[in-house]
Symmetry: C2
Subunit: 258 residues, 2 copies
C-alpha cells in the first residue's frame, strides 16, 4: 500500500497543530512543503527527506507528492492552515481527475491511498484572536485572479455584499496584485456601512503576529500584504472595547431574547 | 486575574483536538459544556467540576461561564467544532456588550480575561473526508430560523447561488424544523446543475461516522438530521470515483494550466 498524507498544520502556533497532523508527518519518509511550514513543525521533521519547490510551482509540488507516494515512499504533502482551503489538497485531486480523463500518464497514482488531515484556517485564527467574528453566516473569497477571472471574483463580491455575509479575504495582495483589496472594499461599501468592523490579521498566532481592527472605509491596500488575512464584518458585527480589551463579534441574535 | 477559556474541540476525533484546547481544559477548574463534548475529551476532564444545561439554554450557559470565571474560578466553556462558528463564543461577547450598554448588571464580567481557542469545524471535516470540497470560495449558512428571520436566510441562499459559492449548511434540520433544507435545495437548483455534488456528513470523524455523496436534485430532508453537515458543491465541483475510491473536490483552476 502506498500512502499520501495531505496535511494542514494550522495557522502557525505549534499548539494549534492537530495530533493527527503530527502523526501523519511522523509516519512519512518524504515531506513535500515550503521550508517555512517545516520550521513551524519542528523536531518531528528530523531525519525526513524534505522536498521544496519555488512558490508558483504548486502543480509540480502536487505531482511530486503523488509520484513519491506511488513509488512506495510514505509521503506527506504539507501546507499551513487547512490544506483543503485554498491550498494544495485540491491539486492532488485535480491531477487524479486528469489521469482518469486520460490527460496524464500515471496510472500508478490511482493506487495511492490518500488521507487528508484538515487544519485550523487563518480566518478561524483571526476570528478567535479578536473574539467571535465568524459567529454567523460567512464566506471566503480569494482575491487572486491568477487562476480565477476577475469577473468571477467581482460577482462573488457583490453576492457577499447582497447576502450580508461576513467575508474573509484570502490572498488579498501580492507583489504583483495591489489593487484588488481596494476594489473589494469599494464593492462591499455599496452594501454595508463605512463603520463595519474589519480585522487585519498578520502572521496569525505566530511570534510576530499583529492584529489591527479598523473599519471598512479605512481598509487600504497599503496596510495589507501576502501574510495578511482580511475579515470584514456583516452589517451586525460589533466592535466593543473597554479597559485594555477589544473584541469583534458577529451576533447570532440571542440578545433579542435576553 | 480571572480567566475564561472559550474552547472548540473539533469535529469529534480526539486526534483532531488542538493541544492548546487540551491545555485550556487542563488549566480550568470548572467546565461548562454538554456532557457529550466532555466524553470526547476523555481523561483530561477528570476531577473538574462539570456544569451542564439543557439544549436551548445557550444564554444561560454563557452567563454561567462568565459568572464562574468572574468568581475567580478558572473556567472553560466548551463546544465541539470551532466554538467561534455558530457556537457559544459569540454569546459571551454578546453578554459583555449588553453589560457595556447597561442592560446587564455584572461589571465583574469585564475583569475576566477571555481566551478563545479555535477548532476544526464540521465543514472542514467533511471536506477532508471526501477530498477537497472547500478548494475554492465557499460560504456557510445556518438553516435555523429560531434567531434569524427566514427572509434573511433565503436572501443568503440566493446570494450563495448567484455567487456560485460552495455552500455548507449548519443546523440543516431539527425535530421541529424539517422543510428548510429542501427549500434551500430548491433555491440552489435555480443557479446550479441538478448533478452538482452534495456531501452529507453525519457524526464526522467519530466512530459512527457516515458519509453520503449524492447530487443536488436528490438532496432530501429525509436523509438529514441534526447531526448532519450538508455541503453543496459549486458549479465546477467534481465527484470522481475509481476502484473503491470516491472523491469530491472543487478545483481552483490549475488544470487549465496543466
Amino acid at each position: 500500500m502506498t500512502k499520501l498524507y495531505v496535511v494542514g498544520t494550522g495557522p502557525g502556533d505549534k499548539d494549534l497543530i492537530a495530533p493527527k497532523a503530527i502523526a501523519a508527518v511522523k509516519a512519512s519518509d518524504e515531506l513535500v512543503a515550503y521550508g517555512l511550514y517545516l520550521d513551524l513543525l519542528g523536531d518531528v521533521c528530523d531525519g525526513k527527506k524534505h522536498h521544496d519547490l519555488p512558490l508558483g510551482e504548486e502543480i509540480g509540488r502536487a505531482r511530486l507528492a503523488l509520484n513519491l507516494a506511488a513509488s512506495g515512499k510514505t509521503t506527506a504533502l504539507i501546507s499551513s492552515g487547512d490544506i483543503g482551503i485554498y491550498a494544495m489538497a485540491t491539486l492532488v485531486f485535480e491531477l487524479l481527475d486528469q489521469q482518469l480523463q486520460g490527460k496524464e500518464n500515471h496510472p500508478e497514482w490511482l493506487d495511492v491511498d490518500i488521507e487528508v488531515v484538515a487544519g485550523i484556517s487563518a480566518m478561524q485564527a483571526a476570528a478567535s484572536r479578536v473574539g467571535a467574528m465568524l459567529g454567523h453566516d460567512f464566506c471566503t473569497i480569494s482575491l487572486s485572479d491568477l487562476l480565477t477571472p476577475w469577473e468571477t471574483i467581482e460577482k462573488r463580491l457583490h453576492s457577499a455584499g447582497q447576502g450580508d455575509f461576513v467575508v474573509s479575504f484570502y490572498n488579498p495582495r501580492s507583489k504583483k496584485r495591489d489593487w484588488q483589496i481596494n476594489t473589494a472594499r469599494d464593492v462591499l461599501l455599496q452594501y454595508r456601512p463605512a463603520s463595519t468592523p474589519v480585522v487585519l490579521g498578520r502572521q496569525l498566532t505566530r511570534e510576530d503576529e499583529s492584529i489591527t481592527i479598523t473599519t471598512l472605509d479605512k481598509l487600504d491596500a497599503k496596510d495589507v500584504d501576502m501574510f495578511t488575512l482580511v475579515s470584514v464584518g456583516n452589517s451586525e458585527t460589533r466592535h466593543i472595547s473597554y479597559d485594555d480589551k477589544q473584541w469583534v463579534y458577529t451576533p447570532r441574535g440571542y440578545s433579542k431574547k435576553l
